[in-house]
Every structure is written in C-alpha cells, then in structure tokens.
C-alpha cells in the first residue's frame, strides 16, 4: 500500500501581519481546495512546528483548529514539519487512518529567533559559550571550507543561483537577484559567512494532504507518492562531531533510499535546506549526488537543486523543510518524475529528515 500527496497548499512566505493561526488556516484551506475535498473528509491532522518560533506555549492549540482538526484526531511534531510528513505517512501506512492534513507553521517575526535558539544550549557545557545558532552553522561552513579548499566565489555562486530561482518562484521570501560581487562585498556576519550567505527569518505555512493509495486515487487521479523517508540524529555535543559533514543527513538518506529501493541516480531534483551555501554543498554530498568535497562541481552543472530558491531565500523556522517538500511536489506535478527533499534542525544540523517523492 502506498501513501500519496493529493493536495498542496502554501501561503506566500515573508513577514506577515496576520497572526500565525490565520496564516495556517489559509494554507490548510488552499490544500483542501487543491485536493477538491471538504474538511470533514480528513480523518486526522498532523502538525509540525515549534512553540518558540511562534511565541506561544502549546502552539498546536491554535494550529489544530486552523488545520481542520476540530473534534478530529490530532498530533504535533515539535520539529521541522517534514517530520510531520513522516509521521502522517506511518499513521496511514499502519492502516489506522485514511486521509491526513499535514500542516507546518513558522512565524519568525513573532519572536527574537537568535535569542530563542540560544536557549536550546544546555546550561552546563554550551550555554556559557554564548554560541549562536548561526555561529554553529558558520563553524560547520568553516570546517568544510578548509577541509576541501572551497573558494569564496563558489559559495557566492550558490547564493546567486538560489536567488535567481527564487526570483521566479511566487512563494519564496527573498526574491531579489544578486551577483557574485554583491555577495562577496556584503558585510561579514559570522565568519566565514557574509550577510547574503545567511537565510532570512520568514513567516509562512504549508499544508499537504496525504491519503492511502486507494483513497488517494479517488481524490486525485495523479497523486505524488511518498516513495522513501528517513530521519536521524547526531551528537548534541559539538566537540564530539566531525563538523565538516552532515552525517545525520547521510544516515537519513540511506534509510530513505533503502525504503524507496533506489539511489541518487534515479533522482532528478533536490530541494535541500541550505541554511548556508556550504550546507548546500554538504547536503548534496550527504544525499549522494557528489563525492565528499566535490559538491561544487554540481553548481557548475545543470543539476536541478532548489528550484524554490532553497532555505537561503525562504526560512520559516519549523516549516522550512515542508516548504521544500511542497515545492518539490509542485515540480513533480508539472515537470519531473522523482525528487528528494531534505531538512535539518538543531545546532550544526544535528537532526535530519529526508523524503523521496515521485509519480
């Protein structure tokens, strides 16, 4: 039995004046309209997002009703909402449910994100270091850059390509095109990352409707199937890690490829959570598209990575990964047959989740 995506709803990403639950409602409503089903046809709701990135304790109290959860079975993953896709898959695969609303939410303008992320540091070993979330990503970038001798221009080129694609994508947050010179002359933010090499903090919501195979075909003649899923976690203690690679992504990808019965060669497109240009390269390598240290060769090729503009252009903490998966699903609906999407969470990409979608 397969599980398919039969409805896709996304809000524009940016800074929203409306409260996050109204944005969530908009995404959910769009997904129902896209699937051409009514709210009562859902039998469960799977939410994904963090309390802190919307500024409310038990934030699913607000998003469950917005997602159509009134008097329905509901659960929330408190992590990137791509995990919610995995959980919804298991709930349907097990035979317990037929049709799920998966809703991811992020509303970074509600709260000081850097400060909030500092609170994820444990009080004994890490908190006194005052290490910011961005610093941990900069440390990984630096480790990777030094290990493989990646030039600044290569990193800048990643940004240029992401921005170019985002400029043509209606849902993306940052859509102004930039040149390599613009990137290299932007202010150094957290070494080795310049201002234009860091993602924005975005607001926005994503809703996907998942259904069991038979139901899926009833709802939509061409569902997008969830072919593979994988997720994994790395060591919390940064000092115990090899920061020059995304090992949890690698393990998650192995699980997903095994489930899908394929490898990177069968995948036509990737939507990756590139919180820095170096993470773009590291993710492509961890997902099996290039040998370690050779991700930059893909930048010069016509490989289809981040046609959405990636996390460097749209980053609603809590649903960035589901945004990428939904963007991939839209591509599969129109152009390609199989793609992979990816998300990371935590300091220095501690956790990873990967989804392979196809027709």
């Amino acid at each position: 039995m397969k599980v398919g995506i039969v409805g896709i709803g996304m809000t524009p990403f940016g800074v929203h004046e409306e409260p996050f639950y109204n944005i969530a409602y908009e995404a959910a409503k769009k997904a129902l309209e896209d699937a051409e089903i009514e709210r009562h046809e859902l039998d469960n709701v799977v939410l994904g997002g963090y309390d802190v990135s919307v500024g409310r304790t038990i934030s699913n109290m607000y998003t469950a009703p917005a997602a159509g959860g009134y008097l329905k079975d509901e659960i929330r993953v408190s992590d990137d909402a791509l995990y919610a896709l995995a959980l919804a898959y298991m709930r349907i695969k097990s035979g317990i449910f037929d049709v799920a609303m998966v809703l991811g939410y992020g509303h970074c303008s509600e709260t000081p994100m850097e400060l909030v992320e500092l609170l994820t540091l444990d009080p004994l070993f890490h908190r006194d270091t005052g290490l910011s979330y961005q610093m941990s990503y900069a440390m990984q970038s630096y480790a990777y850059k030094m290990k493989y001798g990646v030039e600044d221009e290569v990193a800048a080129e990643v940004v240029v390509k992401d921005r170019k694609r985002a400029s043509k994508y209606e849902y993306a947050h940052v859509r102004e095109e930039v040149t390599v010179d613009d990137v290299l002359s932007s202010q150094m933010s957290v070494f080795p990352l310049r201002e234009l090499e860091l993602p924005p903090w975005s607001d926005g919501c994503v809703a996907l409707i998942l259904a069991e195979e038979t139901m899926a075909k009833r709802i939509n003649p061409e569902p997008i199937w969830v072919e593979g899923l994988g997720w994994n976690t790395e060591n919390y203690h940064l000092g115990s890690r090899d920061l020059a690679e995304l090992s949890s992504t690698r393990k998650a990808a192995q699980m997903a490829y095994k489930m899908a019965g394929c490898d990177a060669k069968s995948v036509e497109a990737a939507e990756i959570m590139d919180l820095t240009p170096y993470h773009h390269l590291m993710a492509l390598e961890a997902l099996g598209f290039a040998e370690d240290g050779r991700g930059e060769e893909l930048i010069q090729s016509d490989f289809n990575a981040n046609s959405s503009g990636g996390a460097l252009c749209t980053n609603a903490h809590g649903t960035t990964g589901l945004f990428l998966a939904a963007s991939l699903a839209l591509q599969i609906r129109n152009e390609i047959d199989m793609g992979i999407s990816h998300a990371v969470s935590g300091y220095a990409a501690q956790n990873s989740v990967v989804a392979i979608l196809g027709v």
């Binding site: 109290m61 009134y70 097990s94 004994l124």
Partner: protein
C-alpha cells in the same frame, strides 16, 4: 493492521526537583530501566520517539540534548501536544511499529517542571493574549470552574471530591516512584488551604521532575521478549475548539466522551464498566477524575462523585482508578500521559506495584491544552479482547 505490544516500562523516581541528574541523565535512567525490563539493549532499538513540553524544562528543545543519551545515530522524533504529550508520544511510537517501518521503538518523556518558579504562569502563556490570558487562566483555574459547575448542576459535594484524593494518596503509598507519599483522610483534604475555590491543596497535583520510557515491539519481537506483553488494542485522540469559553457545558467533558466512543468502537467494547478492569486517568485535580469517569462511561452523568465515596474506584472496588496514585500524586506534565500508559501496561502484565487482581484490560488517558485535547490508549493481556 499490525499488532504491537508494550514490552518494557521504565520510570525514574519523581520528585519536586531532580537536581541529582541532568535532563539526558534522567532520560537515560528511564530508558535503561525500560530496556532492562524488556530484556534488550540499546542496539536492539530501531527508533526513538521523545516527548516533552519545552516551556517547562528551562531549556528549549531539550530533546536535542537528551537524544545523545538515548537515540544517537537512530531515527528520533519529537512530539509535543500539551498535557497529552506523554500519551501522544506513546501513540506515535505505537504507530512507528504499526506502520511496519520499525520493529522495536522506545517512547520516552522527560520533564523537569522544577525548573520553573511556578507552572501556572507558563501554562498561561498558552492562552490567547488578547481575549483570555489576562484572566490568569491556567490548569487549576479551569479545573476549579469545572468543579463549581459540576457542584451546581449535580450537587457534587466537597467531601465527595475529597474521597478521590484520599483514594489516590492511599494508592501512591504502594508506588515506589510516586512523588507524594502521604496517608491522608477526608478531614485533611477539607482542611487543607484553598488553592482555587473550591479546590484545596490536597486536591491539586504537585509539580514533578522525572522521566518514563516505554518499549514497543512488533508481534513477533514481543513474543520473543516476554510471555506477558501488554498488547495495544486501540488508541484515539481528539482536538476541541480553542477557547475555553466556547465549550458548551463545563459540567460534562463531551470531547472525551466522543474520543471514548471512538476508542470503544475500535476495540469492540460495549460496556466499559464490564470490559475494562482498571483505568489510569489524567486527573491532576479531584474533580477531573469524576468528570472523566462520567465521560468515559464508568458512571452516569452526575453520578461520578459517588464512585470514590462508595469505594468503587479504590483498588479493591469494581472499577479501580489510578492505582498508581495517579496524577494527583505525581505530575511531570509532559511525561504524565506516558506514565499512565506505563502503569496501565504493568497492570495487564500483572507486574504493577499496586496490582489490581486479574486485570486484563486497562485504559490510559491524558488531557491537554485548556481542556482542548484528549488522548486514550487501551492495552490488554490478550491480543484480542476476551469477548
């Protein structure tokens, strides 16, 4: 649908503060005990599901810290749904196995409410900042409203509610992990200070630090691991509307009735009083056990208050409820629901510290939000219910 069982339960001691251990150390303690109970090691675990309510722990996303102690290098997923977190974490872990993706999955919930000066102001931040937050509403105040309405509508008395507390405290004396271990009588309850009228101190739960872990296994693995697994029969959860003011009648918990009805239909239960032997309910306040017993069909509407008073819910009564001492004596908020499932599982394994004679079917329950969510799981010593 693939059959799944609980094969191991591990708990830490629950106390006001567990300053002797860090978050991951508490997690590891519960997980180690759960694995030991199942007779397996960390290598045998395919995936972890972790639950907590971050705003209580004094650290955001403590799962990231704790996962290195239990879950490193494995699929690890974090669940958080409010007061129901413990049980929805159990439900998610069950679904991991039921999907066929994993054979052995550990659900673990660690919560350190002791990191807060007070839990109620934290809960108040869940309430809408414009319409309801200024009223100061938290868990105690909504429970007090439920009590007031129930007293007015059905004539429930303070003495009747006090009996619930007497019963839970008596049970907790037999549970080595329980937080509050103190023998009290009805007079002690009635003369304790009022916290939120009409609820008095001994009618309100403590705030606890601690951790609980439950090992779930596929049918084949479960039968290899032990001869008395607790088979998961059914689960159900429900989300109501957001505002407390939108509830039609606070004297009845209708959303729990709906969730209960769905659970019973899945399990093939027509009379919960006969078909269920023991219940572990999420009742941090005495009135809530009464409302829950009514909503779940163990008592008629308005009659729930008589159950403790008449001894029905005591360990030797017809419907033993919270033989562990319940939430009234131990409440590590985001872990509490999983403790309910752990205690319910131990009852049908025949290994509970305060064992109900011959218990074969046990119900675990949790509620969350401001009366918004419920989660339920039913476990049995049989793969299918007897009837």
């Amino acid at each position: 649908m693939k059959r799944v069982a609980v094969v191991g339960v591990g708990q830490t001691n629950f106390r006001t503060r567990r300053d002797d251990k860090t978050h991951p150390e508490l997690t590891r303690e519960a997980v180690s005990r759960g694995l030991e109970h199942a007779g397996i090691t960390m290598d045998d675990v395919d995936a972890f599901v972790f639950g907590t309510m971050d705003p209580f722990d004094g650290i955001n996303c403590p799962d990231r810290w704790s996962s290195t102690a239990a879950g490193l290098g494995k699929p690890f997923m974090k669940i958080s749904t409010g007061g129901t977190t413990g049980l929805t974490t159990g439900i998610a872990a069950y679904q991991h196995v039921a999907s066929g993706l994993f054979e052995v999955v550990v659900a673990v919930c660690t919560q350190r409410v002791g990191e807060n000066v007070d839990a109620q102001p934290v809960l108040n931040t869940a309430v809408d900042p414009i319409y309801e937050r200024h009223s100061g509403v938290g868990a105690i105040s909504v429970a007090a409203i439920q009590a007031t309405v129930h007293m007015q509508k059905y004539g429930t008395t303070e003495e009747q509610m006090a009996w619930v507390s007497v019963k839970d405290h008596e049970n907790a004396l037999k549970n080595p992990y329980a937080h509050i271990q103190k023998k009290i009588g009805v007079e002690d309850v009635l003369s304790s200070p009022v916290v939120s009228s009409p609820l008095k101190l001994y009618e309100c739960c403590p705030r606890s630090d601690g951790s609980v872990a439950i090992v779930f296994a596929s049918e084949e693995k479960a039968e290899q691991m032990r001869d008395n697994p607790a088979w998961v029969i059914a689960e159900s959860s429900i989300s109501d509307s957001y505002f407390v003011g939108d509830r039609p009648d606070l004297a009845v918990w209708d959303s729990l009735s709906i969730a209960g009805r769905r659970l019973y239909r899945l399990a093939g239960i027509d009379d919960p009083k006969k078909d269920i032997d023991v219940a572990e309910l999420y009742s941090p306040f005495t009135i809530q056990e009464i409302l829950e017993l009514e909503a779940l069909g163990f008592a008629d509407k308005g009659e729930g208050a008589r159950l403790a008073e008449e001894g029905v819910t005591f360990i030797d009564g017809d419907m033993p409820t919270n033989p562990s001492g319940g939430v009234l004596c131990t409440n590590p908020i985001g872990a509490t629901g999983l403790v309910r499932l752990g205690e319910a599982s131990l009852q049908v394994m025949g290994e509970a510290s305060n064992q109900v004679d011959g218990a074969e079917v046990a119900l675990a329950h949790a509620w969350g939000g401001t009366l918004q969510f419920h989660a339920l799981m039913l476990v049995s010593s049989h793969k299918k219910l007897r009837r």
